[in-house]
């Protein structure tokens, strides 16, 4: 991601009135910041406030300091949910990003028939609402009139069981991959399009083959895009909610109310009325996500300097 210092360098050279403070920019930034403060900063502040209190049936609300956080960090249900999303992150994200990378390289290679067609078709699932995507895949996974039941009939036994305990994360992973592989492909493809043509000409003069060009020119040029796509995917994995929540009625015994940390926070608030504890869960997850995203960004940019 670009840092403010780069933008600084690209600002117009300041004129003679350098020292006079120029407030005109606030006309443009002000409206955004007002809404941002109300819809973004205020909820964060309110969650922080809530998380240090506890409400009991007897005795009312009292200040408990960090007790809720200590509770979350020693809460088996929280860590079970965390384990699910961590596993999901480690398996699904690399698969999705590698598929997206292969597709982007193929479409950019100029060796494909109808590459424009592939670009748009692969991207289409991104436009499908998550609810519809999950309902669709849920039906297809299902026993009633799904494709899986057609397949099982064909085999003659119940071989494929997407809702079984061992397979549910893979089933969810497939839905998420389907939705986002094209989006990531487009991020990579857009970055590939910005490589100057002279680099390819030089590589050709040097007699470099396709794979050599990919390794020495394309992959280095993609580093920034890969870091960004990885960060977005990490955030998406840790916040997993829609897919398991909509699939829950289909696999009620496998998908628990604490299947992911986000589902846990949601159910604590809306089924359990434990708002204070729920706020602490949301904050702990937010901090973990931000720290990991930050580390990925640091590692990504450090490689760039080498």
């Amino acid at each position: 991601m670009t840092t403010p210092s780069i933008a600084e360098a690209q600002l117009p050279p300041s004129s003679a009135r350098k020292d006079r403070r120029d407030w005109r920019g606030w006309i443009f930034v002000g409206p955004f910041l007002v809404v941002f403060a109300f819809a973004f900063l205020a909820p964060v502040a309110y969650a922080l406030y809530l998380s240090v209190f506890r409400t009991r049936l007897v005795g009312g609300t009292s200040f408990v300091g960090l007790d809720n956080y200590i509770g979350v960090l020693s809460d088996g249900q929280f860590w079970e949910g965390f384990l699910h999303v961590a596993l999901f992150l480690v398996v699904q994200v690399p698969i999705m990003l590698i598929l997206a990378l292969i597709a982007a390289l193929a479409i950019d290679s100029a060796r494909l028939y109808a590459s424009g067609f592939f670009r748009i078709v692969l991207f289409l699932p991104y436009a499908v609402p998550a609810v519809v995507a999950v309902l669709m895949w849920g039906f297809m996974y299902g026993d009633n009139f799904g494709l899986v039941s057609n397949l099982n009939d064909l085999i003659g036994a119940k071989v494929i069981t997407p809702f079984a305990r061992d397979w549910i994360l893979a089933s969810i992973g497939n839905i998420v991959t389907w939705q986002f592989v094209g989006y990531n492909m487009l991020i990579f493809y857009s970055a590939l399009r910005t490589i100057p043509g002279e680099l390819y000409e030089a590589a050709e003069l040097d007699g470099a083959g396709s794979f050599r060009v990919i390794r020495s020119i394309k992959l280095p040029a993609l580093r920034g895009a890969i870091v960004i796509a990885t960060i977005f995917s990490i955030i998406g994995s840790f916040q997993l909610f829609n897919e398991p929540n909509i699939l829950k009625p289909l696999a009620p015994n496998v998908i628990t109310t604490f299947f992911t940390p986000n589902m846990y926070a949601y159910n604590l608030s809306f089924a359990g009325q434990q708002y204070n504890y729920s706020a602490a869960v949301a904050i702990v997850m937010g901090v973990i996500t931000a720290v990991i995203a930050y580390v990925v960004q640091l590692r990504g940019s450090r490689k760039e300097e080498l």
């Binding site: 991601m1 670009t2 600002l11 403070r21 120029d22 407030w23 005109r24 920019g25 606030w26 443009f28 930034v29 409206p31 955004f32 910041l33 809404v35 941002f36 819809a39 973004f40 900063l41 205020a42 309110y46 969650a47 809530l50 597709a103 479409i107 060796r111 494909l112 028939y113 078709v121 692969l122 991207f123 289409l124 436009a127 609402p129 609810v131 519809v132 309902l135 669709m136 297809m140 009633n144 494709l147 389907w178 991020i187 857009s190 399009r193 910005t194 043509g197 390819y200 050709e204 920034g224 960004i228 955030i235 909610f241 829609n242 009625p249 986000n262 608030s269 949301a282 937010g286 931000a290």
Partner: protein
């Protein structure tokens, strides 16, 4: 467009390489994976409730009931689906439209003006990109319920108005697309800053703006978590929450499965957004490549 992406390479490779059949076949399998669920949706949205259970999943049933299903979707329960559709449009027009306007103004302001507090604004907004809407949803709900905003359209619209990623994209786009000399010239002519923005800069920024608009439209059209927790009154539901409620009534006590309507409703929900992407692809693709120049 004269002002699309900055300096992109024209020809891909100096010599056009031979097309590869193997590569095309590989990508075709990929494309099938992307398209089969959508094809499945079209096929099954055209079946009756009984036909869904009696016919093969990937092909049409004997009686083609698509239009019947669509008509029934719009009239079921006094046309609640029409209401949900209108709600969704409201959230998209005000939420995504407002988000695009705010992000465009702010991204432009950050790119073209050096004002006190600019660095702080940058730090806060770039930090915000790392925090997704869903992490904020529960705290936002708690705050909004204190303020009496839950169960009103504002509960959906206000959080939708913020798009840190949109701001980032416009900021990057502005640096290349709006030359400072033009702004200086307009100032010489005595135009105010806002006037300059709305008459000159906004035209230069249009591919970037369309890109941000499309992505915020997708985000609000597809929004599920936020309306799910903010709304308990079905009359304010958007399509996504409504459809899932219809699906849920197939299980439990007094189950009333209406899978055919869920499927037809899903198809109706998907079509506008897919069309928007196809029609506007020229714009958002150039906007995206410009955005990635700076990454």
């Amino acid at each position: 467009m004269a002002t699309t992406a900055p300096a992109r390479r024209k020809a891909h490779n100096p010599r056009n390489p031979r097309k590869s059949v193997a590569l095309t076949v590989m990508l075709s399998i990929f494309a099938l994976y992307s398209v089969i669920p959508l094809f499945w949706l079209v096929v099954n949205a055209s079946k009756t409730q009984a036909g869904l259970f009696s016919s093969f999943g990937l092909w049409f049933d004997g009686d083609f009931a698509l239009f019947q299903n669509i008509a029934e979707t719009f009239t079921y329960r006094d046309g609640i689906f029409v209401r949900w559709f209108a709600n969704t449009l409201l959230y998209v027009v005000v939420g995504a439209g407002g988000a695009t306007l705010l992000a465009t103004l702010a991204g432009y302001g950050l790119a073209k003006y050096r004002f006190p507090g600019r660095r702080a604004v940058f730090a806060v907004v770039l930090g915000a990109i790392a925090i997704p809407g869903t992490a904020l949803a529960v705290p936002t709900f708690l705050l909004f319920s204190q303020l009496g905003l839950t169960n009103t359209p504002w509960a959906i619209i206000i959080p939708s108005l913020i798009s840190p990623f949109g701001l980032y994209l416009i900021w990057v786009y502005t640096i290349d697309a709006v030359p400072t000399e033009i702004l200086e010239a307009a100032r010489m002519d005595g135009a105010s800053e806002l006037r300059t923005f709305f008459t000159i800069s906004i035209k230069l920024l249009s591919p970037g703006i369309v890109t941000v608009l499309l992505f915020t439209v997708v985000a609000t059209w597809n929004n599920y978590f936020l309306p799910l927790i903010m709304l308990s009154d079905p009359t304010w539901y958007p399509l996504t929450v409504g459809l899932n409620q219809w699906n849920a009534q197939a299980t439990g006590v007094a189950a009333q499965p209406i899978y055919n309507l869920v499927l037809a409703g899903s198809l109706i929900t998907v079509i506008p957004i897919v069309l928007a992407f196809l029609v506007l692809q020229r714009y958002w693709q150039s906007g995206l490549s410009a955005g990635s120049v700076k990454q």
